[in-house]
């Protein structure tokens, strides 16, 4: 239940805010205290190492001294880090806690600026309500900016303030987005972030509310949770129906958005793809996206990458030339190995058409070398006569 803020209640709220800011100040001191304490403990340990090392040196205990040296090295590293952290903690800017009258004046100013303040005593929430906000012709309604006073001094709170839509007109695409810059009641303050933090740290409650309002009444198209253009959903690029939220499917091939009826998933990569961009592999008959399709280098027909990698294009079965060529390539490589082993010169190469060129003499010599050509000669006896004979 909200309270009207006036008189004594206003003082109480100002006091509560001041207490939280005082807690922030004390937290800063506690943090510094903790860092200095840690550094001090490390230094005490170093002193202990120093005493033990003295003893080891005096008595000639080399092994123990070596171990202490390692311990000292580790400590120096820890001290270096600890020293930097302690310096940072001590060097944080001083937090000035405003007096209660200043905070009270802030509250009174906020009352005037926003025509009233709301207070929810149970949760200690201080709030203002904006006027109805309309951005680029899209009506978003009025918003309550809620400042959670206990969160001011407690860093464990997820957020200090929330933006609650009182008359929600959320995006069709995401109901949690009630404003292009508000998602799940959290404002992404963008350029106002630092100024809002500074205002809250200084107890300038009215400035805080004004800054939040300045963000809410403006629109940054380049960095919105949902752009206003898509606020009421998008039109399916195929059938033209209006869609939103989880019903929208983005086609990675053509970069348009589609409804569920007009899109599907690639059988291979699971990418969402519109039916227009989906292709059917003529070999495996899988439905795949354009990214998973390719062209057979032999026949130029479309097929999926998987079938191409597995050399399953039908043209490879139908065309004996291709088959023979492949085997010729195999023979070439085998012969190269033979040459290396036997030291004989075998003439072989690739002509301008990509066909293997080899001399019968060379092949015969190779066959003889490999044990009478029992393995090779019977395989392509008819192929030998077709090979080009090099001069």
């Amino acid at each position: 239940m909200e309270d009207e803020l006036s008189g004594r209640r206003l003082w109480q709220v100002a006091g509560a805010i001041r207490d939280q800011l005082h807690a922030v100040r004390m937290n800063r001191f506690r943090d510094a205290q903790s860092q200095v304490q840690s550094l001090s403990s490390d230094m005490a340990e170093l002193e202990s190492v120093r005493r033990k090392l003295n003893l080891c040196v005096a008595r000639g205990w080399a092994a123990a001294a070596g171990s202490l040296m390692e311990q000292a090295t580790r400590l120096f590293r820890t001290l270096n880090y600890g020293s930097l952290e302690a310096e940072k903690a001590v060097g944080k800017p001083e937090v000035t806690v405003p007096n209660i009258r200043d905070i009270l004046e802030e509250l009174q100013q906020a009352e005037e600026e926003f025509e009233g303040l709301r207070y929810y005593p149970e949760d200690q929430i201080l709030a203002i309500v904006t006027d109805g906000i309309e951005l680029e012709g899209v009506y978003l309604g009025d918003f309550e900016v809620q400042l959670h006073i206990p969160a001011l001094g407690d860093p464990s709170f997820r957020s200090i303030y929330r933006i609650v839509a009182l008359d929600p007109h959320p995006s069709v695409r995401n109901e949690a987005v009630t404003h292009p810059h508000v998602n799940e009641e959290r404002l992404c303050a963008g350029d106002a972030g630092a100024a809002i933090d500074a205002a809250l740290a200084g107890g300038r409650v009215c400035d805080f509310f004004m800054l939040v309002r300045s963000v809410l009444t403006n629109y940054n198209r380049d960095s919105a949770y949902v752009t206003l253009e898509d606020w009421d959903g998008v039109t399916c690029h195929d059938c033209g129906s209006v869609i939103g939220g989880d019903d929208t499917y983005y086609c990675t091939s053509c970069d348009y958005e589609f409804c569920g009826e007009c899109s599907s998933c690639c059988d291979h990569c699971d990418e969402s793809t519109c039916l227009g961009c989906m292709e059917t592999c003529r070999v495996c008959e899988d439905h795949v996206c354009s990214g998973c399709m390719t062209t057979c280098p032999e026949c130029g027909e479309r097929l999926c990458r998987r079938c191409r990698e597995e050399a399953r294009c039908p043209c490879l079965d139908e065309d004996p030339e291709n088959e023979n060529e492949e085997e010729t390539h195999d023979n070439d490589s085998d012969r190269t190995e033979s040459t290396a082993e036997g030291g004989e010169t075998i003439s072989a190469g690739i002509n301008a058409h990509g066909d293997a060129q080899e001399t019968p003499a060379a092949v015969g010599a190779e066959a003889a070398e490999e044990g009478g050509g029992e393995d090779r000669a019977p395989v392509h006896p008819d192929r030998l006569g077709e090979a080009a004979v090099l001069p």
Partner: protein
């Protein structure tokens, strides 16, 4: 003379500023917010709206808050 200036633009800060006697709010704005348009800011002196030709006084508290701030997905 010295006034308290609270600039809610950019990082936001509050500090004392020296101003020459007879300085108007409008002039002070152009000195502090280079290139800014005063109509894009809420300017308050001692927490109250004032006319552009208001002459600043010793000890005044001047607040300038932009009214056009871009939010962002990543704060």
């Amino acid at each position: 003379m010295r006034i308290l200036f609270i600039n809610n633009d950019g990082g936001g800060y509050a500090d004392y500023a020296e101003v020459a006697p007879g300085t108007t709010v409008d002039k002070f704005f152009s000195q502090q917010i280079a290139g800014g348009k005063s109509e894009d800011y809420l300017i308050r002196v001692n927490r109250q709206p004032v006319p552009r030709d208001y002459v600043l006084q010793e000890g005044d508290r001047v607040t300038m808050t932009p009214t056009k701030i871009e939010g962002a997905v990543t704060a």
